[in-house]
Symmetry: C2
Subunit: 332 residues, 2 copies
C-alpha cells in the first residue's frame, strides 16, 4: 500500500497510501446545509444566550442588544463550571475531581450562514483579536492550566448549532494530547537546542511540495504525517508559544491565510464540515517556552475514524499530503 | 456539569455529566440497516474474495467453496503488505519506513445479516477460536510486534461491507496507544507488584454498580473512566496478557458474555453501529507479561467526536457509566 510515516513530535505512526492515492472524488462526505430556524447566535436574538462576557460592538449600543461584530457568551451547556475548587480525590484505584473550568462561545459574526471565507478581512481580524483577548483574560485565573480554542463547523464535525462559532475551554490540568506534544517538542529541544516547529517550517519552505499558502508571517501546509486526508497546519513563521502574544500586524496576516486556506479546501470539497484546533503552550507555568510553537490544526471531515484508529492511535491516510497540497493549490 | 475522572492506566481525563446525565432517548444515532446486494462475504460468493488463509469448513468441502463456518481471507485493500522489509529511514527531521504488515479479514459466519447476538453459541465459539488461531499463526512472523483485532459493525462505525466481519492487522511496531497502556500498566505494577487490570476487576466486582454481566471466567462492565456513553469493557477474571492463550472452556464463556453484552446494548439502542477492539500485549518481545491483561473495549456509535476531543484527548461523557450499566441491566 505504501509508506509508514512517524510524527516527530508525538511518535504517532500513519499509513500513507503512496501507491494508489485517493482522488478528491473518492470521498463521499456529508455536505453541510443550513436549515435555518430561530438561532440564538443571530443578530436580534441576543436575549436567547447567557449574558455576554465580552463584545466588540458599535459605539452607543448596549450590552446584550444588537449592533455587535463579535460576541462572547458562556456556553449554555458548559462542559465545566467556573465555580468551586478542584478537590482531587481517589475512589479505590481511580482518581477524580470536580468539573472546574470555563467554557465560552465566541460568536464570530452576527450572520447565520457565513463561514470564515465569507467574512471580510476586518471581520476575521476582529474574531482573532477576540480570541487573543479571551486568551489573555482567562489566563488570569490561576486555577487554569490550559486554554483550548477549537471550532466545529457543520453537524458532521460535531457542531450542534449551525451559526459559525468558536469554543474555548479553560482546563484545570494540561490534557494528555497536549502533554505528549510538549514532551516530544521538549526532548527535541533538549537534544538540538532548536524548536522542532521552527525546523519544520524550514524544511517545509525548502521542500515546498506540502505547502498550501505562505505570507509574510504564516505558512499553511499539509503535514508530512497527516492523520486525515487534506489535514492542514497553519503556523506562524516567527517563534511564539502563544496565540495571545501575536501583534496586530500578525493578526492581519493570520486572518488572510485562515480565510484563504479554508476557501481552498471548500473549493475542492464544497460545503465540507471541518474542525480546527488552536494548539498553544500550557498557561500559568513556565513563561518563556522556547520549545513549543503555537499553531492551528485544521481537519476536514471526509472519512470515518473506526476501530483500527481507536485501538492503535495509528491512522490511515488514503492520500499523500503532497498530493493533497497539489489539489488544494489547483495543480492537479 | 459534574465530575472529572482520570484513567489510571493512560492518564486520560474524562468529563462525566453527573448533574444532568443523558437518557438513552437523548441519543440520535444512525441506525444500521442492511441494504443487501451482491456480497463477497456471503455463502456461495467465495470466488469474490482473495483465497482463504484459514477456514473452518465441513468435511469433504474444498477450499474457497461453500460449506464453511468461519473464513479468513486477506483484505482486498490491505493497509499494509506482507512482502518486504521495514527499511526505516529519515527525510529531514521526519521518519518513515515501508508499509510492511498483514491485514486479514475474519468472516464470522456465512449469513449476510447476522450480528454476533444472532449467532448460536457454537458459532461464536468458532469465531473466537479462529481469532485465537490467527493470533498464534501471525505471531510466528518475527517482523511483527503487535496484532490488533478489531471489529467495525455498521457503516456509522466505519464498516465498508455490511456482512459482519473482524479485521486483524499485524504491525511492525507497537502502536502509540498500546505503548501508553503498557507504560501505564507497567508503572502501576512496578509500584504495587500487582496487575492494574486484576485490581480493577476486584474493585468492579466489589462496587458492582458498573458491572453489566459476569460469568465464571469473564466480567463485562462500564469503565469508571468511559470515553463514550455506554462504553463497555469485557475482561477475563484470570490474569492473562493474550487472547491467544485462552482455554477451550474459557472460549465458551467468552462467547456467552460477548453475545449477551452486545444483545443488551442493542436492546437499549436497536440497530446501533459499534466498534470493538481486542487489546493484548505486544508480541515477539517479553514472554511472561505480568503487568498487562488482555480485554475487549466495546464502543457503541452514539455521539460524534469533535474538535475538543481531537485537540485534548479529553472526552466528554454525557452519561455516567454507573447509569449506563443500570440501563443495560434494565434497572432504569
Amino acid at each position: 500500500m505504501g509508506e509508514l510515516r512517524r510524527d516527530p513530535i508525538v511518535g504517532r505512526w500513519v499509513i500513507v497510501d503512496t501507491d494508489h492515492p485517493a482522488n478528491p472524488k473518492d470521498f463521499h462526505y456529508e455536505q453541510n446545509a443550513y436549515k435555518g430556524g430561530v438561532c440564538p447566535f443571530c443578530y436580534g436574538n441576543e436575549g436567547m444566550t447567557p449574558p455576554e462576557i465580552e463584545c466588540f460592538r458599535e459605539q452607543g449600543t448596549s450590552a446584550n442588544s444588537s449592533g455587535w461584530q463579535v460576541r462572547v457568551v458562556a456556553n449554555k451547556f458548559p462542559a465545566l463550571q467556573i465555580e468551586g475548587n478542584l478537590d482531587r480525590r481517589p475512589l479505590g484505584l481511580y482518581d477524580m475531581s470536580n468539573g472546574v473550568g470555563a467554557h465560552e462561545v465566541i460568536i464570530e459574526s452576527p450572520y447565520h450562514a457565513k463561514d470564515i471565507p465569507d467574512l471580510l478581512p476586518h471581520e476575521i481580524e476582529n474574531y482573532i483579536k477576540m480570541c487573543r483577548n479571551r486568551a489573555v483574560d482567562l489566563a488570569k485565573d490561576k486555577r487554569f492550566k490550559y486554554l483550548m480554542f477549537f471550532r466545529n463547523f457543520g453537524s458532521a464535525a460535531g457542531a450542534s448549532l449551525e451559526h459559525a462559532h468558536t469554543q474555548v475551554v479553560a482546563l484545570p490540568m494540561v490534557p494528555k494530547n497536549v502533554a505528549e506534544e510538549i514532551t516530544g517538542a521538549k526532548s527535541y529541544f533538549d537534544y538540538k537546542e532548536r524548536c522542532i516547529f521552527c525546523d519544520m517550517i524550514r524544511q517545509e519552505t525548502q521542500e515546498k511540495d506540502r505547502v498550501v499558502l505562505e505570507n509574510k508571517f504564516f505558512l499553511s501546509f499539509c503535514p508530512f504525517v497527516s492523520r486525515f486526508p487534506f489535514e492542514i497546519w497553519i503556523m506562524p513563521k516567527k517563534h511564539n508559544a502563544y496565540l495571545r502574544s501575536i501583534s496586530d500586524e500578525e493578526v492581519g496576516y493570520l486572518a488572510e491565510i485562515l480565510k484563504e486556506t479554508i476557501a481552498k479546501v471548500k473549493n475542492v470539497f464544497p460545503n465540507v464540515a471541518y474542525n480546527y484546533i488552536i494548539h498553544v503552550a500550557p498557561i500559568n507555568g513556565e513563561t518563556d517556552v522556547e520549545y513549543y510553537h503555537w499553531h492551528i490544526e485544521f481537519m476536514p471531515k471526509l472519512t470515518q475514524v473506526a476501530g483500527f484508529e481507536w485501538g492503535t492511535g495509528f491512522y490511515i491516510d488514503p492520500i499523500t499530503p503532497e498530493q493533497s497540497a497539489k489539489y488544494l493549490k489547483g495543480g492537479l
